[in-house]
């Protein structure tokens, strides 16, 4: 591995850890809290009703946690990366429709009760994570569980 490749690998790994880490944090913080709390946040986007929002609140934190861990560890990197990206795009759509409709969303539900930034801030933050997915997916594959298994 030459120096240029090495830097690319490290950048890719850092990108994967950043995006995966955010998903892990977001998942854990919500899985530790009551699902009702997250459900109220989902409801405030006025896309689904109370009952499906509660179901979503039971499931989404765990999905975020698993997807984040798999991406960070580099297990099925392409698939976990694409799945994480699809989730980010979905979150962007939710945020965008709330912004366009001017909904009074007081807690975005992104990181549970740990605090909430404005919708616009969260939207831009997600764009950064979406951008980081490119190096996470296409660089740094050498420093992943996928590569380790391939070498064996």
């Amino acid at each position: 591995m030459n120096e240029k490749t090495g830097l690319k690998e490290i950048f890719g790994l850092l990108a994967r850890l950043a995006v995966g880490g955010v998903f892990v944090y977001s998942g854990v913080i919500k899985a530790l809290a009551s699902p009702e709390e997250f459900a109220y946040a989902i409801e405030s986007y006025k896309v689904i009703g109370a009952a499906p929002a509660l179901w979503a609140a039971y499931v989404v934190p765990w999905v975020e946690l698993y997807a984040g861990l798999l991406l960070a560890a580099g297990v099925f990197t392409r698939w976990s990366g694409l799945f994480t990206g699809a989730m980010l795009v979905f979150f962007e759509l939710l945020l965008a429709q709330a912004l366009l409709r001017g909904l009074p969303v007081t807690s975005c539900g992104c990181f549970g009760a740990a605090g909430s930034n404005s919708l616009a801030h969260e939207f831009l933050q997600n764009l950064v994570f979406l951008a980081l997915l490119w190096p996470a997916l296409f660089l740094g594959r050498g420093l992943s569980a996928d590569a380790l298994v391939e070498e064996e």
């Binding site: 913080i29 530790l32 009702e36």
Partner: protein, 211 residues
């Protein structure tokens, strides 16, 4: 056919999923999750106090009335050393008016008299807790404390008020609260006034350690 590589990665993914699930569920049991602070009108003492108490209480429960007295004493003795966050945990199945009482107490809180209203509810618990019809005490206490009863009525059925109480209950469920009063003193669980008093024996040490 699944390749050897994919089988290995699948096994690794399963281990990651299993380990993380176990860790999160364990963290829930150990009360390591975040706690929403109580609204300002039912949070007492400095936010950075060395002794942090979260109390899950039902205003219609006799054991909670006893514990409320003990807590009041502690707040007097330890003063700024204690932060108390009062959380509602109405046991609706055995105390039919407990949810209403929690909502009215919060509405009194919004008018600046949560503590006084809750104290009156505790004192006269036997009269209203098991009443067949809606207890007259809710209004009588509001008037006694010069609260705006019209506002309180509207507030007690408002979505925001009920949501706040229900979130307290949901949080209690996640933390494994099943009896009232349940306290978390610096994260350590105490069920009932007796266990709380046991933990209070260590308060002097905690306060010394924080200096």
């Amino acid at each position: 056919m699944i390749s050897k590589k994919n089988a290995r990665l699948g096994a690794l993914a399963a281990v990651i999923v299993f380990a993380s699930t176990t860790a999160v569920l364990l963290a829930r049991q150990l009360n390591l999750g975040p706690v929403r602070p109580a609204p300002a009108f039912r949070a007492f003492g400095p936010a950075a106090a060395p002794i942090q108490i979260y109390e899950y209480t039902d205003l219609a429960c006799p054991a909670c009335r006893y514990a409320a007295g003990a807590l009041e004493e502690m707040l007097k003795i330890y003063g700024a050393g204690i932060r108390l966050d009062f959380k509602h945990y109405p046991l609706k199945n055995i105390h039919p008016w407990s949810m209403d009482a929690a909502a009215y107490a919060d509405c009194a809180g919004e008018q600046g008299k949560f503590k006084d209203y809750a104290a009156l509810l505790f004192e006269s618990q036997e009269k209203w807790a098991q009443a067949k019809d809606k207890p007259a005490e809710f209004e009588a206490f509001a008037r006694q404390l010069n609260l705006d009863w019209g506002k309180m009525q509207a507030c007690s059925v408002a979505v925001e008020t009920l949501k706040r109480v229900k979130l307290d209950m949901a949080e209690g469920d996640v933390k494994g609260v099943s009896a009232t009063p349940t306290f978390f003193v610096n994260g350590k669980r105490a069920v009932g006034g007796g266990q709380l008093l046991e933990q209070a024996k260590k308060f002097d040490i905690l306060l010394k350690g924080s200096r």
